[in-house]
């Protein structure tokens, strides 16, 4: 961040990465997000809460609510797909990092960037199929959602989740999200959960830890 980088430390890190293999970390448990594409009103309170939490200037956006619309007047439809970082099982960002700044936490599967090692080369930004890593010109490094680990460690939930006025965004153990076991009001009594919707990259690329309540037009067959 703003502190001056330790060049020697970074050189050391680069050397280490070159020697090292990349085996995706198998976390003890994997946390992930769930978002209801239909009931979301697209207010972006989650986005603003995130920017405030992380002190971001205009430009970088860790959380991005996409507005999808289609049809022909007057038979139209609209829905939202809301994504930040998906803390993937096989993160595409991680092995591209020349300094090894990106790491996946063993305890909860959160993918985070060690800002003291990030040199702002933006390779992860290009590698991530979901547009999660965000270059911050103010600090000349890449930043992204870290699921508000500090809040999670304090026994609370991320800022975006706690901001959602409609209560349609939540986090949980990802398997329980996918199999519908997670107790959350983000998912309604008659809602199904899917892992892939239209308007996002193929999940086989990185196996993102996210579930959606899809809109009928957003379902993938």
């Amino acid at each position: 961040m703003s502190e001056t980088k330790d060049k020697a430390k970074i050189k050391e890190a680069v050397k280490r990465v070159k020697r090292e293999t990349y085996t995706p970390v198998k976390p003890d448990t994997q946390l992930g997000f769930v978002h209801n594409n239909v009931d979301c009103i697209g207010c972006r309170a989650c986005e603003i809460a995130c920017k405030d939490k992380n002190g971001l200037m205009p430009g970088p956006r860790f959380r991005r609510v996409q507005y999808i619309e289609g049809g022909t007047y007057p038979n139209v439809y609209a829905y939202k797909v809301n994504m930040s970082c998906n803390h993937c099982a096989e993160p595409a960002c991680l092995p591209t990092c020349p300094t090894g700044a990106i790491f996946k936490r063993k305890a909860d599967g959160i993918v985070d960037i060690d800002s003291t090692l990030c040199i702002g080369c933006r390779r992860c930004e290009a590698a991530c199929p979901f547009g999660a890593p965000q270059f911050d010109p103010a600090d000349n490094i890449v930043k992204k959602c870290n699921m508000c680990v500090d809040e999670i460690e304090a026994g609370r939930k991320p800022y975006c989740v706690m901001a959602c006025m409609m209560r349609v965004l939540d986090i949980g153990q990802i398997d329980s999200i996918w199999d519908g076991e997670l107790e959350t009001v983000a998912v309604g009594p008659n809602d199904e959960i899917v892992r892939q919707v239209k308007n996002m990259a193929n999940i086989e690329l990185t196996k993102p830890s996210i579930g959606f309540v899809p809109h009928s037009k957003g379902k993938v067959k």
Binding site: P58, Y67, E69, G70, V76, N146, L205
Partner: protein, 854 residues
Amino acid sequence: MSTKKTNDDLLERLNLSRRSFLKTTAAGGAAVVAGGLVELKTAKEANAFAYEPYPKDDELETVVTSCAHNCGSRHMLVAHKWKDVIVRLSTDDGRYQRDGHFGKDSLEEPQLRACLRGRSYRQRIYSAERLLYPMIRVGERGEGKFKRISWDEALNFVSKKMIHLKDTYGPTALLDQSYAGASYGVLHKSDQIEGLLGRFLGMFGSRTNSWSVPSYQATTFSSRMTFGTIEDGNEDDAFAHSKLMIMWGWNPAYTFHGGNTFMYMRMAKQRGCKFVLIDPQYTDSASAYDAWWIPIRPNTDAAMMAGMAHHIFTNNLQDQAFIDKFVQGMDAGTMPDWAEGKENFNDYILGTYDGEPKTPEWAENICGVAAKDIRKLASMYAETKPAALKASWAPGRNAYGEQYNRMAAALQAMTGNIGILGGCAEGVGKAWHAEAVAYPYDQYANIWFQSIKSDRWAHCVLNYPNVKREEIGLWQRQDETDGQIPNIKGIFWQGSDWLNQLTNINKDLEAIKKLELVVCMDSTITPSGLYADILLPIATHFERHDTALPWYKGHYYIHRPKVIEPMGESKTDLQVFTELAYRIGGDVFGKAYNPKASRDYFHVNDNVDEAYLREWWETKVIPHQHVDMSWDEFKQRGVYKFNLDQPHVAFRDQIENGTSFQTASGKIEIFSGQLAQITDWKKTMYGYEIPSIPKWIEPWESLNSPKIKKHPFHLISPHPRWRTHSIFNNCSWLRETYEQEITVNASDARRLGLKTGDIVEVWNDRGKCVVPVYVTERCMPGVAVLHEGAWIDLDENGVDRAGNPDMLTLDEPSPAGAFAYNTVLCDIKKTDLEHRPGWDKLATSRAHVFRRDL
């Protein structure tokens, strides 16, 4: 884009197929063995940016407060501060209320989660546009040239001018244009009628009041006439109980409108409630609630409703028992004796007098909604119980907007959906009654010497003294000054940006030149402020002590302590008025204006403010509302949530227990006795006749008028989601969520050769603005949508580069006082003129909305 295509593109871009990606990993694995390297554990789990340099919440001081702007809601904000700086804001998470814990979010006491605007407050407090020192104009008015002066100089200037104007031009010289902009609280109240400014100018003895409310005067009028009160609203949790909800021009996904309305509506949906949206736009509310969208020509709502009433009457679907018991003037049987032979609502609908039955076909012709859909909706509404027809404010901001609201009330009454859980009589929507007054309140609270329709001030100033009372909607007075045209020579803005927000800005700009004093009190510079003679920096609600009350739905109080010290030299508005009072009228005026304060209040206000608030809590809130929490406990927790034993429903008592409605007849007056007895309309504040039963009246501009030959688009200007009127327009975070743009239908765009992002000029005979266009199928053809509140930014020809629709609106209010913001025709074309999204190019250059068309 298909998933397959996305995928292929990606693989190409990354030059990495799924297979080779896996191979890399595998090959790496092999290298380990071959090279004999030791696998290193490098995933060091520290130093990620969230830890440093940003302090964690628990390392900061937590202070509960709320948002404070004039949006229709009020939510909790929690400041996390380090010394005197707010590091970040969070919101209610269930911890702060009594018996609270993290995550508590019950149906009775839901969390009061702030919206995107509330969450951006830090950008407002710490903005570059913040006013920190008193400033005086040095250039021409409107040129935007000011110099810093001391408070002493500023207040001397204002007080001298005030005295001069009053002595020279009399008690109507100063126009009160305060509004609920950014100052709404129980103590520091900026408001149109009984705010701090009104009391100050009234006591001073020179005040022309502005009586019509820009947002919802049509429905205020309608509810007063129909129900005898504006408290026609249900609490937000009542919305969970409807089986059918008709959102008439209502977009809570944008406006939020009260506590947790939007969330309870989701609950209704989960319980099987069907939603209908009548609106020229397929809004986010339509999509989130999966509504049946009925696009309608703007301004024609009353006609469609009349068509529905016709279907209900002719098929005998009305709730006759309800009508007979509670309603006046719905039909011949419910007319008062004294009005026998006068036209009742049923007569009007069937065309008994005018020979024009208001059939669904008749309505289709006017509103563009197929007669079969009108019939279908009418049947649904009459046959589903309970059903909520929520008649929102926007369709009332029209020529004859009051007829739309009165017509809606007729439908609500004829289907018997008033006073029952899951029904709706809104309207205004004001629900649970809060104790709202901690500021000094006495016989001086609302003294005025003339009172005019708010958007007629420019007309009055420009034409004085050749103005007829009906042209400016002069309110009656009981003394010899009745009917005297006010001689306005000065304006005060307190918590308002009315130059940017009232209709027909070009006319306002003409009029402002004629004034001798323009005072702007605000925490930020605003477009209005640029036209002021003097700018007084006002502390935001983070910088003074107060309590928040719900704007119009929700039942709670939120404590608002002084979170940080006032920035720069800013003072509270109560400090400013008190000091002015002392300077103008010595101890007599000073003490009378602010009884608890002493002469040094301008410098030390904490104890006095605390005393007012404590008194309010202890003598009003506790005894009147059966609150068992002490003021000190309230201050310590920061929030008090009322736990109502059943959802508050307006008029429940009237329907269940037979108590009278607050009208003269004690009934729901579809035939208004009050209106029927007016003989000289010119002598009323309305100025022009208003029918005593709801009727469809042709507006002066619409898609049905011959004027469309010249100006083919109907322009509407709804409330945006990313600003509250003009507040927050300068916040870059919010700018990333939207663009100021004009929405048109794809077929219109094709005809004009436009695509999303093209810059267009939008104009009519009154003015012109420049904005990008947004092309969509979600908007009715012939309709253009441009959200209100963009900060005007005029070029040398008076063209607004920011895209403010009020460059085009007409300052001709409806008889009942409704602003005709949505009665506007215009034309649109591609242009080379410059569009400037904001005053600060850097802050607005990254505006980028994530939006995909399929």
